[in-house]
């Protein structure tokens, strides 16, 4: 029993050890890796992904999966940019309304996702994958394939203004992380996500409204995707269908690498933070040491398999489907 507990404790810290190990490795390969400028770069690339990954963390904690993030991010980004530009082009004026609009759009898309999954009893995997495509189509329909430029200096200050060497975006992202952590650990809803992930039928027998919880989970996820979309637009100054690209792989990889179990009930947003950093450190580090970027995807793919393999005691599973 003690050995078992020790293993479990160790497993909990593996992601952090991996992150530290990676930093040491890349620093050894190229000392430029360990500079504040480079860390700021990692922070910028991590912020949007962190939001999306936090969103999907909630869903994964319940034992479901959400693959709609690319579509949701695209729609939220495009509608955010359109609203901002339509309302005067600056968040100093009425343009700030674009932020709640984006969050609302994300929430609605999450709600649709959750309703399709719960009410029509379609597996979350299929429901969200399909609705993700619907989202991408929708964003193309709205933009007609065009890019929408944002040149509001106040909004772009998320990227351009730096405090302590790091852009404002990172602090905003950390604030959102704290909110997510509060929801996860200190609200009934958040704790009930763990209950559903740990044993859905048992949770139902205790009187939890599991269907409603799932829908709430997807709505929350949608709102965090919207935050991801806003950061992504702030980072590039452009909103288009392509804004959503690559978020699915990056966010799910981050969640899994961070140690949140895909079967649900284990892990959380702090794991996701570590996971996002691992993924971005690898991406950044490989550029710093001069490897071609197509290596990244390959390495990340292998990393996911390793993480899933490490994350559970495989011997205790008799079957794997």
């Amino acid at each position: 029993m003690n050995r078992f507990l020790a293993m479990e404790t160790l497993r909990k810290w593996v992601p952090l050890l991996v992150l530290a190990g990676l930093c040491l490795f890349f620093t050894a390969m190229n000392p430029h890796f360990l500079t504040p400028r480079n860390f700021a770069r990692i922070a910028i690339s991590s912020s949007p992904v962190l939001m999306v990954a936090i969103g999907v963390t909630f869903v994964i904690l319940m034992g479901s999966i959400d693959l709609s993030m690319e579509g949701t991010v695209a729609v939220c980004a495009v509608l955010f940019a359109l609203t901002l530009n339509a309302l005067g082009g600056s968040i100093a004026g009425w343009g700030w309304v674009a932020i709640p609009v984006a969050l609302f759009v994300g929430a609605v898309m999450g709600a649709v996702n959750g309703l399709v999954h719960v009410r029509l009893r379609i597996p979350s995997f299929m429901a969200s994958l399909s609705l993700g495509f619907v989202g991408i189509g929708l964003s193309l329909l709205i933009t007609g394939g065009d890019r929408i430029l944002i040149d509001d200096p106040l909004f772009r200050s998320l990227l351009t203004v730096r405090v302590g060497g790091f852009p404002l975006m990172m602090y905003a992202a950390l604030a959102c992380l704290l909110v997510a952590w509060f929801i996860q650990d200190h609200t009934t809803t958040g704790r009930n996500f763990y209950a559903v992930g740990g044993g859905e039928d048992l949770a139902r027998a205790s009187g939890l409204n599991v269907g409603r919880l799932r829908i709430i989970g997807f709505v929350l996820a949608g709102m965090f995707y919207a935050l991801g979309a806003i950061f992504a637009v702030a980072r590039l100054g452009i909103a288009e269908t392509e804004t959503g690209r690559n978020f699915m792989f990056m966010s799910i990889t981050s969640v899994v690498v961070g140690g949140t179990a895909l079967r649900g009930g284990e892990g959380g947003v702090w794991n996701t933070l570590i996971g996002v950093l691992i993924v971005n450190v690898i991406g950044n580090g490989m550029v710093v040491i001069g490897l071609a970027d197509y290596f990244q995807d390959g390495v990340l793919g292998l990393l996911v398999i390793t993480a899933v393999w490490l994350s559970t005691d495989r011997r205790s599973l008799s079957f794997v489907k």
């Binding site: 200190h186 209950a195 009187g207 008799s318």
Partner: protein
């Protein structure tokens, strides 16, 4: 006082409960017994609100009530301690206790953990459990979890007016002797807070704990007994509707085994993670029972023989030949059949029909060039359905829908028809009613007569004594004592128990 009057229930034409009357007074412990299919579980589901009755009334303190969900029942003070433990393993103990009832601990949307922990300690104290409420539930032992479940139900006390009614569904099935005693003393101590409905297959426990005993048969209450006037024999008689003969275990059909023919030999085998040393011989026609408390290391021995675990040392010989490759498929090829405790998980492929299940382990005998000969499979299935009198509409029936006894027979047919002559039985009668148990005992005798060697982990000690030729008492992974069990010279329960603990 909790009362059921004239409860009726039908499922798609089957009359499951036929006008059941049931009454439980405050502080009373009621034993509820009946064979599988007698309607016990339906009755319980109606009591705790998982199922609604078609007719009749439920009265709580004289007031008619309707339970649409288990939550409605909880609000009236009726709580259920589930047979399959209903705690969510990844949550803390306190979260489990207050799951679905977190509201009193929430302020401005945030859960106040300290307040919840304090309240949880109060509940845990009621069952005499001294653990940190913030412990993750999966780290508790089974017995501790059972007590936490009880504490969870007792937490209803503060939320409802009047006394609680708590259902205990087979609460002892996963507990050891000491743990059962602990649970019983807790239940007795809680009588002033709640009344209990205690459901168990173990009649000795029913007698030990209950005040009155309701006997269900075919959906009706056939008798209500005062426990101190009842005996196991009288209850059994009421349950089955006839006398259980002394020939229950078919001892008249226990014949000496063939001492010359050793089917299986373990020669100083060390079981993984046990650091032990097990030696035994299984002869043709012998029933060898392994007895011991839960966790004494009986199952790993079976799993090692079946090739699911690789021994750390020593030699395993099948018909004199040492085994050097350990895998279930290798063992199956050498005539070993394994009937696991978890029928649903390892024994039966539900969703597959009877003949598919029977030929699952011997598919190659029924294929030509990769194509299945279904006609031959069906013929085999029909043959064995007849031989073992398996109750199925046809060989096309889905095994997942069969009763426990019939599933067990399909599994046995699977191994026997494939020519296995070393059969490992892990709790073959667990969860079966008396009639189905007798069928299983008869099958064991039939197999012995055919020269099959059987290693048995029995559900009860009586069963082990009654069925076996030889008993090995296992404690902490090692064989502590051997007993010879020839008819007429069988060891007593006491003989065995003193070596078990």
């Amino acid at each position: 006082m909790f009362e059921l009057q004239n409860i009726e229930k039908r499922y798609t034409g089957v009359h499951v409960l036929k006008g059941v009357d049931f009454r439980i007074d405050d502080g009373e412990i009621i034993g509820l017994v009946g064979e599988n299919g007698a309607g016990k579980s339906t009755l319980m589901k109606i009591i705790y609100g998982a199922v609604q009755q078609d007719g009749g009334t439920i009265l709580v303190d004289g007031q008619a009530v309707t339970f649409r969900t288990p939550r409605d029942a909880m609000k009236m003070g009726v709580g259920m301690v589930y047979q399959e433990q209903s705690l969510i393993p990844n949550l803390t103990v306190m979260e489990n206790i207050f799951l679905g009832f977190e509201r009193p601990f929430v302020r401005f949307g945030a859960i106040r953990w300290k307040k919840m922990a304090k309240a949880a300690r109060v509940q845990l104290a009621k069952v005499g459990l001294d653990i940190d409420p913030a412990t993750i539930t999966s780290r508790l032992t089974f017995a501790q979890r059972q007590l936490v479940e009880l504490a969870k139900v007792l937490a209803l006390e503060e939320r409802v007016e009047g006394k609680l009614v708590i259902l205990l569904d087979e609460p002892t099935s996963v507990l050891s002797r000491d743990e059962i005693e602990l649970l019983f003393s807790v239940v007795r101590a809680l009588r002033r807070r709640a009344s209990f409905i205690f459901v168990s297959h173990r009649l000795d426990e029913i007698l030990a704990l209950s005040d009155r005993i309701y006997v269900l048969k075919d959906g009706a209450v056939v008798d209500v007994m005062i426990a101190k006037d009842a005996s196991i024999a009288t209850i059994q008689k009421e349950m089955v509707g006839r006398d259980i003969s002394t020939e229950y275990y078919r001892e008249d059909r226990q014949f000496p085994y063939d001492e010359e023919k050793v089917l299986l030999e373990l020669d100083h085998v060390g079981i993984v993670g046990r650091g032990n040393d097990v030696s035994l011989k299984l002869h043709a026609g012998e029933v060898l029972a392994l007895v011991g408390v839960e966790g004494s290391g009986r199952e790993p021995i079976l799993r090692t023989i079946f090739g699911m675990l690789r021994p750390e040392k020593g030699t395993l010989r099948i018909r004199g030949k040492p085994v050097n490759r350990f895998s279930p498929s290798h063992s199956v090829a050498h005539g070993i059949g394994y009937i696991p405790r978890e029928r649903k998980i390892e024994g039966i492929a539900s969703g597959m029909n009877v003949f598919e299940n029977m030929t699952l382990s011997q598919m190659k005998n029924y294929t030509k060039g990769g194509v299945l000969n279904i006609a031959a499979e069906r013929k085999l299935a029909r043959e064995w359905i007849g031989k073992l009198s398996i109750k199925v509409p046809s060989e096309y029936a889905d095994c997942g829908n069969l009763s426990g006894g019939n599933q067990q027979k399909v599994v046995l047919a699977k191994w026997r028809s494939g020519g296995s002559d070393i059969i490992l039985l892990d709790h073959p009668t667990r969860g079966l009613d008396i009639g189905a148990k007798e069928d299983v005992y008869a099958m064991i005798r039939d197999m012995s007569a055919d020269g099959v060697g059987i290693i048995l982990i029995a559900d009860t000690l009586e069963e082990a004594i009654g069925l076996s030729h030889t008993i090995a008492v296992i404690k902490d992974g090692d064989i502590k004592q051997w007993f010879n069990c020839q008819p007429g010279a069988k060891p007593s329960l006491y003989d065995l128990i003193q070596h078990m603990v």
